[in-house]
């Protein structure tokens, strides 16, 4: 392959097992195949108190260069979903149903029988849901990487951060120690860490929360993944640091041509930084679609209630917020019908008994699950003007 950044050709031994291992017959995906296709995925935990379905029948796609937001309150299953997508659920005590197909860069190996001609950038399907850990290691870091919520507990406290970045480069890309160090310092510079040579030798506890999150991002980016899963990457950070990290993620997404899945509870985080949104409630997708369609043309009452209960800076002081009565459902004990029905002001008898399925709208890719949806509205055209300058010096005399 001509692309020098493709890590796999440097260490083909790591990629002995591909999805089509049994027959060695390789079937390529069409070049426009979605990067990640999640089809009817459910995650069930087997506990002494019975089976708990934390995530039920989730389907969505992530295309190349797309930023998808997954939004939900605590207990909605968004973290379980993101860990399932990465194949991080333990082998025992958890069942993952459905299929999670990742379009993986194909690396030729001995014994492969190729159907027809090889496309320019060959892609093969990789099934995450049933992959063995050894196979998952061929995609972790290289194809899919993850940034976790809490950078303190996800970094190794007794290893220098430089080592933690270069480890992936040495193991996955077979770089020499010296090259890996040079690249790691380059990455530290890229994620905006001042004096990267010094920081290379720092331990995580010597860095601030924002800096640690930058290190996590550097580790995730080390092997040029094509999909970055960020689970609450800015929760617990100050607003100004949050803005820095989100801008950094956006710059890197464009620079590396990555797709990003941004998991968050904060509608403000996804509003201006995603192409599409998936809204979760009680372990299910209740609405999904283009960001603007979901914000301005939502049909599901939960989406509306969530938007209206979020305090806004543009509200005047002492303005009353619309509240959602009750509290999020207990995942151990979900109601038989729509999970939101007990808190919904539009709920009818049917909502309590029968579960609504996702249905489409006239907007492309916009789906909602509700028996009594809000009336359809036209999504207004984008009016946002990017204010690139704050103009702090405007009044200086």
């Amino acid at each position: 392959m001509s692309d020098p950044q493709t890590p796999n050709d440097q260490n083909p031994e790591e990629n002995v097992r591909v999805a089509a291992k049994d027959s060695n017959k390789v079937t390529f995906l069409p070049p426009d195949a979605p990067l990640l296709r999640v089809d009817n995925v459910s995650t069930t935990f087997h506990t002494p108190r019975g089976d708990v379905r934390a995530v039920s029948n989730i389907s969505f796609e992530v295309r190349a260069n797309e930023v998808v937001g997954i939004v939900g309150e605590s207990g909605s299953g968004k973290t379980v979903l993101s860990r399932t997508l990465m194949g991080l659920q333990p082998r025992h005590g958890v069942t993952v149903d459905g299929s999670i197909t990742f379009a993986k860069r194909y690396v030729a190996e001995r014994g492969d029988v190729v159907d027809g001609h090889v496309p320019e950038n060959p892609l093969v399907g990789f099934e995450v849901a049933r992959a063995k850990e050894a196979d998952l290691r061929t995609v972790w870091g290289v194809e899919v990487a993850m940034v976790f919520q809490d950078p303190m507990t996800s970094l190794n406290p007794v290893q220098r951060v430089g080592n933690q970045i270069s480890e992936g480069l040495r193991v996955r890309q077979g770089m020499s120690k010296k090259d890996a160090k040079r690249r790691a310092i380059e990455l530290l510079t890229q994620v905006g860490i001042p004096s990267p040579e010094e920081r290379y030798r720092a331990y995580p506890n010597q860095l601030s929360g924002g800096m640690r999150q930058r290190v996590m991002i550097a580790i995730a980016l080390a092997c040029n993944p094509r999909l970055l899963l960020a689970d609450e990457p800015t929760t617990g950070l100050d607003v100004t640091i949050q803005a820095q990290i989100l801008n950094l993620l956006e710059d890197l997404q464009r620079q590396y041509h990555m797709s990003v899945v941004l998991v968050t509870h904060d509608l403000g985080v996804v509003a201006t930084r995603t192409d599409r949104i998936v809204v979760m409630y009680g372990g299910r997708v209740v609405e999904c679609g283009n960001t603007r369609d979901v914000f301005y043309g939502h049909r599901m009452p939960y989406t509306e209630a969530l938007l209206k209960s979020t305090p806004k800076i543009s509200n005047s002081s002492h303005s009353r917020l619309q509240t959602i009565p009750g509290r999020p459902p207990d995942i151990l004990n979900l109601p038989p019908g729509c999970s939101f029905a007990p808190r919904c002001s539009y709920a009818t008898e049917k909502c309590l008994q029968e579960r609504p399925e996702l249905e489409g709208t006239e907007n492309d890719g916009h789906f909602f699950a509700c028996w009594n949806p809000l009336p359809a509205r036209k999504t207004p055209p984008a009016t946002r003007s990017d204010a690139s300058e704050i103009g702090v010096d405007s009044v200086r005399d």
């Binding site: 100004t240 914000f295 209960s309 979020t310 509240t323 204010a387 702090v392």
Partner: protein, 336 residues
């Protein structure tokens, strides 16, 4: 409440409040000289990033943290001079609600007993009267005492625990509540419930609030006036609508532009505040914000900016405020 300043009665008067912590020979000045008033019946919001001293300020007002210098006056009582029993009596007028609702309640006590504790401590009521007060308080915060009164605190969710905390803090009918990040651990839908409840109770009990939070949108929604804090000092203080519309301090402007609105059409600012706050062990000379301020000059490094009045109640501590200072403004306002 009247609009003009002279009509408002000052409930809490804070002058030159300082809190210092010693670490060996080094001194961290967490709160470095605050002067402010809180008027009766108003809500003062206090915003700032983590480590700026906003929680320490709240704790120092209650004398949970002993101030190194300065005075705090609640009504006519100078709290900073009090000790022992007199201090405890004064604290009845000022109550605090903490961030983590679950750890601020004893998990092994019944809800009724938690709410009754202040009443029992002060022997304020007995028998039927005591029961009635508890019943009313729990009903008011939306916890049905007949169903939940005998349950243990550990059986409640975060939002419910925060309701119980509110009930407990109101048991002695305080004049003032200090809310330290009271909704930041809650989900959006629960947060809205608690904020509305707080507004209702404020109205009913005639409370004065100091609302400490890092979320600018939440603060705007509840506050009459807002103070912005950076490294132990106020940058700007003013009526919330005025200040959010026209921030005068560069830091306020950066904070506002970094806040994310749940609206895809909200303006995006690519210019964000660079770097991180310096260590309070070694604060910059002059203006504490100067190391991150794009407008900083030599004057900012050499001279500490004084609070200047821009308009009624709107003050800023900056040598180069973003909106012009009204020279003709009565200097009497400078004392607040």
């Amino acid at each position: 409440m009247s609009e003009t300043k002279s009509d408002k009665k000052v409930l809490l008067e804070v002058r030159d409040l300082r809190v210092e912590f010693r670490k060996g020979k080094r001194v961290v000045s967490a709160v470095a000289g605050l002067d402010f008033d809180i008027y009766e019946g108003e809500t003062l919001g206090l915003v700032g990033e983590s480590g700026c001293g906003k929680s320490t300020t709240g704790r120092a007002l209650m004398l949970i943290e002993q101030p190194t210098a300065g005075t705090v006056k609640l009504g006519d009582v100078e709290i900073t001079k009090l000790k022992g029993r007199a201090l405890r009596a004064a604290r009845r007028q000022m109550q605090m609600i903490f961030q983590d609702p679950i750890s601020s309640l004893n998990p092994r006590r019944r809800v009724k007993d938690i709410v009754a504790e202040p009443i029992d401590c002060w022997r304020a009521a007995k028998g039927e009267e005591r029961e009635k007060i508890i019943f009313d308080l729990l009903t008011k915060v939306g916890i049905d005492p007949r169903v939940y009164g005998n349950r243990y605190a550990r059986q409640f969710s975060g939002g419910q625990c925060q309701r119980i905390s509110i009930a407990r803090s109101l048991a002695m009918k305080p004049q003032m509540l200090i809310c330290d990040e009271m909704v930041s651990a809650l989900d959006v839908s629960i947060q809205a419930q608690i904020l509305n409840l707080l507004e209702d109770l404020k109205e009913e009990y005639g409370l004065t609030l100091l609302f400490i939070a890092h979320d600018l949108a939440v603060v705007k929604n509840v506050s009459d006036r807002v103070a912005v804090m950076y490294l132990g000092k106020f940058c700007e203080i003013g009526p919330s609508d005025v200040m959010y519309a026209e921030p005068a301090h560069p830091y306020t402007k950066f904070l506002l532009s970094a806040a994310l609105e749940a609206d895809p059409d909200s303006p995006r600012h690519d210019q964000v505040l660079e770097g991180e706050p310096p260590s309070p062990l070694d604060p910059p000379s002059g203006c504490r914000f100067r190391t991150r301020c794009p407008n900083a000059t030599e004057l900012c490094a050499s001279t500490v900016p004084e609070m200047q009045t821009l308009s009624d109640g709107h003050q800023v501590a900056c040598h180069f405020p973003l909106i012009p200072v009204r020279r003709s403004a009565a200097p009497a306002g400078a004392d607040a």
